[in-house]
Symmetry: C2
Subunit: 337 residues, 2 copies
DNA sequence: CGCGCGGCTGAGAGCGCTCCTAGTCCATAC
DNA sequence: GTATGGACTAGGAGCGCTCTCAGCCGCGCG
């Protein structure tokens, strides 16, 4: 035991206590390669007895790595945190990062003020990289500034306007949409309408795009109504379609929440699901199991999305060029065909 | 212009460019005292031309300050971020901190896993201090660990179980509750029931406590039903009271959301507000203006709470012992008496 | 016996900043 | 002329790490 006079123990204290050099302690701290068993044991003992904690700033200064990455909250927090998809991405990203010995810190970036501060913070060297989840188009300059500062950034969903410059991970929106339409076709449903999602997100555009493509000549603007992924907007879109009096036997909603809203409206209109109208959602979020009947939907594997995002981000932090990953979706058949 | 060969410019590059010494640049960076105008101008010019950004880790290493404080999210994020009170505290804390040149970082601390990571992060020297908002009792060990590591912590609301060890800022729950009851009395309402908030938060206990004290001998357990601050819980509590068939002419709800829930129930029961029953809430949150009639309530000045929290936290970071601040509430008279 | 080599260790330099101290310079006072 | 002191500056030391590299040791091989 050496005297520390109230200061926090340093690596030198540990080295002295263990009877080895600073370098050896450092080696133990960083994976323990090239260290004899005896030395390692001594060092570990000394770490415990001194209560040593690594000083992250000294380490960061030496390595020019911080070991943390920012998670940008670029949307109304209320919306963000009430969306189970986001929450799942958030949690599994934190898990995946922990697996790399890194930490996730949430960065507020909703208002203009906050974005300024966030930019300062992120480009100032506080984090090794950043994760962006909202892909709304209005975050343009913000993203641009981060890129200009050469901060590694990975996006969940295709970052519209930055497809070329930012690595991303996305579920296969087009493939999933196509599969839904084929599935409906296999059940004899051919007059399908689409409740589209917001067109400034890649999910919204991708699913609509696939809808148009697969329908081909049968496509008409009449078959589409737009919403913003919320339940209410799904209900409104459904009402709009009903008011148009186009004949249809199936509804493909851009996400589960909108599908649920549509089902509310269908029920009120006296239409039976799935007898009169089939309904299919997207995401497989919790709400899909709360509708009656339970919703058939296309699952987005968000845990895999997070894992891949972290993999890409770590790659990019390590100087390997960012990739683009598309993850297949999976049909979950329940009661709405 | 000096060559940097791709590395980030350092303070030495700036000094060379400006024709002054490193120390002078540092002084400009830290407030600019003891620097001649000429030197300052040169330095500022050099900072621009080199694109210099301070390296936070070098600075932290030298000062053993990080310039950032953690904001602990110790509740279900969904609940947290849908509560306008929390959001306001969050935003105004960030503002107040920015005024001190510091940054707020959000730290996830809901699940057990997250709390472990959070503890590591916070006590590892990544932040200068932390803000805790939820005061639910189950965060006990968590708080204890932070204190054990001598991390400066300030709580919003009285941290039950840690009143002695943690500085805090709270609105005057007891005074506010007392004022509400007096206000009702002044309007001739004397048979008051209380829809109490969660009893593991200081707001919940404080307001109930005041209710008991003021009523004195008139108090009876029959006059109280409990909720958890949510609108639904307010409705349930109201139903409970109605079922008991105790006579009452006024409802004092622990917060506005519960008051709104109670008003829903009263309306369905055919009771008119305020003619048959007066209703008073607490907080003055947005919902208070959305009820019909608009809700009379006791405003909690959350912006002042945040300001004071930051002041206390900065004090404590600077080695001055943490204080305790109680902020008066303010009656907002609207249409429910 | 000398040499090379794998396995391990320790010393020194350096990361980019702030803090401190000695020192310069100039104006004013005596 | 020197002394005094206020306004500033230069540069060394140090914050606590990591990284590189030379060096040591013991062993097997030619």
């Amino acid at each position: 035991m050496t005297k520390l006079r109230g200061r926090r123990p340093t690596i030198d204290d540990v080295a002295r206590e263990a009877g080895v050099s600073r370098g050896t302690v450092s080696r133990v701290l960083n994976g323990g390669h090239w260290v004899s068993d005896g030395a390692r044991v001594q060092v570990e003992k000394a770490i415990k007895s001194t209560g040593y904690r690594i000083n992250p700033h000294a380490r960061s200064l030496a390595t020019s790595r911080t070991g943390s990455v920012g998670f940008l909250l670029t949307e109304s927090y209320e919306r963000f945190f009430s969306d189970p998809n986001f929450l799942q991405i958030l949690r599994s990203s934190a898990d995946a990062l922990a697996g790399h010995g890194m930490t996730l810190v949430l960065i507020m970036a909703d208002t203009l003020d906050e974005r300024h501060r966030a930019t300062e913070y992120l480009t100032g060297g506080h984090v090794d990289g950043a994760l962006v989840v909202s892909s709304h188009r209005d975050s343009q300059e913000f993203l641009a500034e981060l890129l200009a500062a050469r901060l590694p950034v990975i996006s969940a969903g295709i970052p519209l306007g930055f497809e070329e410059q930012v690595g991303y991970v996305t579920a296969d929106d087009e493939g999933g949409a196509r599969a839904i339409i084929e599935h409906l076709g296999a059940h004899g449903r051919t007059r399908i309408v689409h409740l589209a999602g917001p067109q400034d997100t890649s999910g919204g555009t991708g699913r609509l795009q696939a809808f148009r493509t697969v329908l081909g000549a049968a496509y008409s603007d009449e078959l589409v109504a737009y919403g913003d992924y919320s339940r209410d907007s799904g209900a409104n879109a459904m009402r709009e379609i009903l008011a148009r009096e186009v004949p249809f036997d199936a509804v493909f909603a851009a996400n589960d929440l909108m599908a649920a809203g549509a089902m509310d409206v269908l029920a009120k209109a006296g239409l039976k699901v799935p007898e009169d109208v089939a309904v299919v959602g997207f995401d497989d979020s919790p709400v899909a199991q709360q509708t009656t009947p339970q919703l058939t939907t296309m699952r987005q594997p968000f845990d895999r999305v997070s894992e891949e995002m972290i993999r890409l981000l770590v790659d990019e932090i390590n100087g390997r060029p960012a990739g683009r990953v598309v993850i297949p979706t999976e049909l979950v058949e329940r009661g709405t065909v």
